[in-house]
């Protein structure tokens, strides 16, 4: 019995070693009220940056503000799209769109009030950024934000569009 278990474990690890992670399927709404399924997020074969934030998370807001300043340049250069996912809970959820509009962010914003998408990706702390390549595979993950860290993001995106 132990040998069978071990054999199964080795098979599983063998399988896992050659498959890259894709986005899990969770149904969310965006800030305009449209229903979106996270496993069908696409950007026409170009990379996507998924950034988890909350209205009360100061580093998250600093990061999104910093990216906002260079977002147009990033889009022109690489065609990347940034999707911001808010984990604000039910009563704060109504503050997300006002805040996004106040800062003039042009990102797609999704609402994840019960942290379903966050949990499905195994994320615990925000700010958390994931970069998904053109084929839908997760290529980069990062937790936390320090000033200037967004440069690392655009470097990774440039790398991905070269391949």
């Amino acid at each position: 019995m132990k040998k069978l278990f071990f054999a199964l474990l080795v098979m599983l690890l063998g399988a896992a070693g050659t498959v890259s992670a894709q986005l899990p399927a969770v149904t969310l709404k965006d800030i305009n009220g449209n229903t979106v399924r996270t496993d069908t997020l696409s950007n026409g074969g170009k990379p996507i940056i998924i950034d988890f934030f909350a209205t009360w998370c100061k580093p998250c807001n600093r990061e999104l503000k910093a990216i906002n300043e260079v977002y147009q340049d990033w889009v022109e250069e690489t065609g990347v799209k940034l999707i911001a996912v808010s984990i604000d809970q039910a009563q704060n959820i109504n503050k997300v769109k006002p805040m996004v509009d106040e800062y003039g962010w042009e990102y797609d914003v999704l609402l994840d009030p019960n942290s379903e998408f966050k949990r499905a990706l195994g994320i615990q702390m925000i700010p958390y950024v994931i970069i998904v390549d053109g084929k839908g595979n997760i290529a980069y993950k990062h937790n936390g934000y320090t000033d200037g860290a967004e440069n690392e993001l655009i470097e990774k995106v440039r790398e991905l569009i070269k391949n």
């Binding site: 399988a15 305009n32 009220g33 229903t35 509009d101 019960n114």
Partner: protein, 299 residues
Amino acid sequence: MNRRQLCLLAALAIATAPALAQEDGTDKVTVSGSIQSDVLVPQEDEKIGSPKYDEWALTNTYADINLRSKNVDAGLRFEFLKHPLPGFEKDFKGWGVPNFYVKGKFEKFEITAGSFYDQFGSGFIFRTYEERSLGIDNSLLGVRMVFKPYKGIQLKALTGEQRRYWSHNPSWISGGDLELNIDEWSKRLSQSGTHIMVGGSYVNKYEEDENDRIFADATHMLRFPQNVHAWDARLQVQKGGVNVLAEYAQKTQDPSFDNGYIYRKGNVAMLSASYSRSGMSVLMQQSGLTTCRSAAAAQ
């Protein structure tokens, strides 16, 4: 295991890998997981009166593994909280596998058996979630089903026992939620960019009261209701920069130690309206709960 068996096993592993990693994704199985460990090494300091611990290190460690494929997901989480970080409740101590699930995903239907999390509307009457930094995990262990018979219609039904640290509450929770996104049926509405959502939900908690013997005075014992019912209704309208949400929820008598054995029915109403466009926003939100407490009604 001898060398020949080991070689065969290695060959099997290598042979399996390409078979499962097909590009079209129909047979792909993705394995993902994480380990999170927060460790604290306490230092004794008599000058500030720091508490003494028997352990040389305290840790909250969580390890989870998830398998995902086209139609089936499964996973489990192992928690090691035997020597937890300070600041958590006494019952928080323990270790084991408190969360495990299997999920079947089909075109219009999804079913989960095991531990699950969900929220109805704004979460007034039902919300199960995990917040490790607060030591909260009130997941339900049971069955959850989601039906999407037609676009814009979503029906959820769930039932189970709620987790309380390393055991489950001696009550049974069942509930359902229906949410209609009317703009997905009406071309006129979706063309004008208007989104209308109507939803309603109902939750029931069944708990036998044979174990509780609480006395209001020398001759009167509190009678606890076996069934607690709660329902919620909501309406949301969004168009352009305007967003209005109105939600109301009500609950029948639910006396417990936490609320001082109150017998008043509870209700909450929330109205939220916002207008925003690039550069400016206005938000007004009002919610009210009944706050006056009445003396426990003895029977």
